[in-house]
Symmetry: C2
Subunit: 274 residues, 2 copies
């Protein structure tokens, strides 16, 4: 549906400029050159639109981060991690703006839980990364380290998302990787304990195999590209009845990984299925 994509693009621009609440549906339809009715043919409500935007971006980001954490050699991991994050912020700076503007905590419950969910997935990835890189030596400080890394992400993103200055992303990633390493190897006083984390984190529910199969079915109908389509088909087969070799499965996952519409499914498959 081309119209839906148009609305999402234009509204994202407006939200980044003015904020979500301050942007009216009328403004959106004007910028799209469509009528008000047409808007409501694509989205049930204004809320549904912002949710669609959040999902689109967060699914991509989480998938990308996960892929990097899983597939980068230790000695390059921190650097690649930061680099990927900031490249994503840079590429989708309108979106990053909206995220930073709106989702400190306001808006409706559904959105809040959604953000918390994605946030948690990212935290999980960061923790995996920390444990792999530093192992037992950060046993007591790993949660602090995780928060620090999240803090770095936010702080520096702020710096270049809101001010349009040219940024050397490689240098930024290097600089933050060094800082992170220093703290991981030398910090001794933990503040964020496992108990604290437990108090503020709800348990997230897993995605079931059946849900995954349904999801793949839906996506197959939306998608045009023959390679991606067949890959999805085969991966679904594999879920129902495993028969392919690991190398083939891996290849199929690679096929869909770089298609924005499939990223999320490839993430879910990596994470929950294979």
């Amino acid at each position: 549906m081309v119209k839906k994509q148009l609305i999402m693009e234009k509204s994202l621009e407006l939200f980044a400029e003015q904020g979500f609440e301050a942007t009216s549906v009328q403004q959106i339809t004007e910028r799209c050159g469509i009528s008000k009715g047409a808007f409501y043919l694509s989205f049930k409500s204004k809320d549904e639109l912002i949710i669609a935007l959040i999902d689109q971006f967060m699914m991509q980001s989480v998938s990308d981060i996960d892929y990097i954490v899983r597939n980068t050699k230790d000695d390059q991991l921190l650097y690649e991690f930061y680099y990927a994050i900031y490249q994503s912020f840079h590429k989708h700076s309108d979106f990053a703006k909206v995220l930073m503007k709106e989702f400190s905590q306001t808006l409706n419950k559904e959105l809040f839980f959604k953000m918390q969910y994605y946030d948690q997935l990212i935290e999980k990835n960061i923790l995996t990364m920390i444990e792999r890189l530093y192992g037992n030596s950060v046993q007591h400080t790993k949660y602090d380290l995780m928060y620090t890394i999240k803090g770095f992400m936010n702080t520096y993103a702020h710096l270049f998302v809101f001010y349009n200055v040219p940024v050397d992303l490689q240098l930024l990633a290097e600089s933050l990787a060094e800082k992170t390493n220093l703290l991981a190897r030398n910090a001794t006083i933990p503040f964020v304990s496992a108990e604290l984390i437990k108090m503020i984190q709800p348990i997230d529910e897993e995605v079931s195999k059946e849900q995954l199969i349904d999801l793949i079915g839906q996506k197959m109908e939306e998608i045009e590209e023959p390679i991606e389509k067949e890959s999805l088909f085969l991966l679904r087969q594999q879920l129902v009845e495993p028969s392919l070799s690991p190398a083939i499965v891996n290849g199929l996952l690679e096929n869909i990984r770089n298609n924005p519409d499939c990223k999320w499914i490839s993430y879910l498959l990596r994470r929950y299925a294979f």
Copy 2:
């Protein structure tokens, strides 16, 4: 004016719960038990209210931070700095919530510049602190360090402002002081350069002596307490025609420092006059 204070208190609660845009003037007047007209006797508009709130809190915070940076011995400075910040966030958690929710960048221009102004004052204090503690050794990394410190402030504040968990502020301050020290002494790869800072920071204008004299005059009329009142009177005299000894001036500044209504003036006097 008691009513003005009542409105500020109750509206702050509502803004913290629901956000600024989502809170109507009607809701505010209901919670205060006053009429709509009464609201507009105290504030010209809803915007003026939020500006008053921002000013009240930020003036206190900036003054407190400045005082600590000026009057703490080096070996305790980082700890006291973080401790003061988080104590303030803790004490004024409703306010901290509003700040974090709303002022990532939305709302009107005036407010944006106001926040930028206060932010800059804080940055200046952090830089002063860094330079005093580490001197030339952080010549190239001091702006990174400043951003990191700001990042720490934000990240950890988030953690305990939004989740109502009991927090050991001393431990938090210790932990962050250690991290800051580590980075200051060992980080070598700068990302935030002096040029970058220049690109994103407007020049702030100084407060003139005449403005200060006016300001003190206004405050003297508002204030009841005899000690504070006389101190203000004498300090104004001193501005017009210096005649008191440094010790006396210092004492007078101390007299007004802990009165929330005078904090800002004591800060301005320290900074721009004496």
